[in-house]
Symmetry: C2
Subunit: 272 residues, 2 copies
């Protein structure tokens, strides 16, 4: 058991255990809550890990109770690690005052959190097999952290992700704060659509599944812009990306839970 | 669409639609909220209905978002109708003042609600094929309403049900209020364990599945008493009852959701 984590609850569910964990983060200098689902398979062998990055309004309980990734992960034999973000942290390292002291979620998710989790649960989790997914702002996080860190994750997926934050009101507000308004290279360096154009070449494989609901208000208000991501993928000649538009689905957990199994199976193709 | 129901939300989930409905009840003389999940199969044919009776602390959103019955019901081709109770109504018709004006949940669930739902959704739902299930106080409701109404429901199941309310603190408080303390025949007439003894004979078939978690505080505090129900079943010679004790599971939605598919499949055996 982790010396670095406090275990606030251990809950039996779908044959495995959901652990509610808390620790003090050096990257953000705040207490951070994460949940970890250990599937029944982890009793017998080290299992791979699917990291789920949460959206803006997500609380720990929301994600793990309503998202139902753990239901499918139990069957597939994957662990799920939920991160709950730092408010509207956008999974970047802020460079501008007053944000740069605490808003370092990129370092937290890519370095500190896996270090702590694999340190504490090294007997159950295989640190060499990790994929990443997320919802809304967390979908932006999953796509950008995958593209910024080649080789770190085996696959990526996203539910209703913010795909082109430098072109939507949510992203403009966040990036204007975290990076300031002047150096736009920082903006495009944390924008999934721009990263496809700058980081990938024709013929590159991007093992990526995206679902978006056509009844999602934020999609319809052009906060998500998956078409821009698709256009960048197509114009760059990147292969392996599937973007699905799901009729009538909204932005809620009713949407997430409906497609959780598909996203677990997408990750499982690359992890198992 | 129902003239009697107001549809507060229509949500796409697991290929079907979750409807958040509200109407004015004559039985309770209050507004009542119910949720109805219409599986994709209901687009093509009339589907059977599984009624889910909620526990004490359940809200509409809890049950339908976290219980996960609709995920399995989508695959099986069942509709799910969630009732959210009337506070601590215990699914009885109160006979004592001041409760008897409003606390008539038995009449509501067995008569008024199905009348309204099958009236409004008669093109999608088959009123001749209905089963009943529930959690905690709602499990008590499912068991007792099944036993009190032979032929009304094809099967019954319950998650962490209050099995012998006349012998547990929660039930003593509720029944003492709703029925008064003097006429104990009213108490045993709404107690699943006592109903098995009074209503069933040796060799009777009771198509009943019960799950209880061994880490459930209320089970351990002897509020649920499934052993008493099992004893009555055994001593009476009733057949078809399965009571399962699930190691470590608690009383929460993490427990309900883990076994929701089993309870949907139990109902489907009798409904399809």
């Amino acid at each position: 058991m982790a010396s670095t984590f406090e275990t606030k609850a251990t809950i039996a569910t779908f044959g495995g255990k959901l652990l509610k964990l808390s620790h003090k983060s050096n990257a953000t200098q705040t207490p951070m809550d994460v949940n970890l689902y250990l599937p029944p398979a982890s009793n017998d062998r080290k299992v791979p890990v699917l990291i789920f990055l949460s959206g803006l309004t997500c609380t720990p309980n929301n994600c793990s109770e309503k998202g139902f990734f753990h239901a499918a992960a139990s069957k597939a034999g994957l662990a799920v690690l939920w991160d709950f973000g730092e408010g509207a942290g956008f999974y970047v390292n802020a460079t501008a005052e007053p944000w740069k002291k605490h808003y370092n979620m990129e370092s937290y998710v890519t370095k500190e959190l896996p270090g702590a989790v694999f340190g504490a649960f090294g007997d159950k989790l295989d640190s060499s097999r990790v994929s990443i997914t997320g919802h809304s702002m967390g979908g932006h996080g999953a796509l950008t952290l995958f593209l910024k860190n080649p080789g770190k994750y085996r696959s990526v997926s996203a539910l209703a992700p913010i795909c082109n934050p430098s072109q939507c009101p949510w992203g403009e507000k966040a990036f204007g704060g975290y990076f300031g308004g002047e150096d736009k290279s920082l903006w495009v360096g944390s924008d999934a659509t721009e990263l496809v154009r700058s980081q990938l070449q024709s013929g590159a494989k991007l093992p990526c599944l995206i679902d978006v609901g056509t009844g999602d208000n934020f999609y319809n208000q052009k906060q998500l812009l998956p078409e821009n991501f698709e256009k960048a993928v197509k114009e760059t000649g990147v292969e392996g990306v599937e973007v699905r538009y799901q009729p009538d689905y909204d932005h809620s957990y009713f949407f997430i839970s409906s497609f959780a199994e598909d996203h677990v199976q997408h990750a499982a193709k690359y992890l198992l």
